[in-house]
Symmetry: C2
Subunit: 101 residues, 2 copies
DNA sequence: GGTGTTGTTCGAAAGTTGTCGAACAAGGGT
DNA sequence: ACCCTTGTTCGACAACTTTCGAACAACACC
């Protein structure tokens, strides 16, 4: 089955925000923003692979990432341009390094 | 008891995003961004007053709004400057009118 | 004091989410 | 063919969210 990667315009804002409103997922997005394309397995943030797979699905279905198969792996990348076009400044605001709490 | 209005720097990004990731709350924020200070009761988005009170609490505790008493009412306002300082572009990105889905 | 308006808090119900282990599927090696 | 690696899916469970009505608190006004 083809992965479900909706047009960003078809995803409600609240779904995009909800996708970003999780610590694990935010770390994944941060890693993708810095490192470009990466395999699912490279996101080891202390959760099981089932959980990781779930989070990647949430990001994908929120229109934030794309996934393509590559051998036994799957490579994930951020849909940066599209997100920036529809929500200019959002990723910058969310991912920017911030003064410590 | 004084309303709990944390310093924005003390609120995790994910909590801010989660606060915005709800339809009712986003409508409230939108109304505040356009109309300035407003009484709680002015946000009639088809939910009961108990629910409305809950959502305003979430926004307040995410550091997004301030509330002050005024007679029998409570006036709510967006902490726009502070939010813009800590998350430059976030509110603009989220509240901007968007091309229809 | 009593009455009405405005909000908050409580308790409960329904739904959603994050998490896991186990089972499964698809590829690449040897 | 066999196994190992990499991910996805399933079923379950706990925790959190959204929502409501009802009860309560605070204030204003007659």
């Amino acid at each position: 089955m083809e992965p479900h990667e909706p047009d960003l315009a078809a995803v409600p804002v609240t779904a995009v925000l909800a996708a970003l409103a999780d610590d694990v997922r935010l770390q994944i997005v941060r890693a993708l923003a810095e490192g470009g394309e990466a395999a699912c397995g490279s996101f080891d943030f202390g959760v099981s692979k089932a959980t990781r797979s779930h989070h990647l699905k949430v990001l994908r279905e929120a229109g934030l990432t794309r996934t393509r198969a590559a051998g036994t792996s799957r490579l994930v990348r951020l849909r940066r341009d599209e997100v920036d076009q529809r929500y200019p400044g959002l990723l910058d605001a969310v991912l920017a390094p911030r003064p410590p709490a």
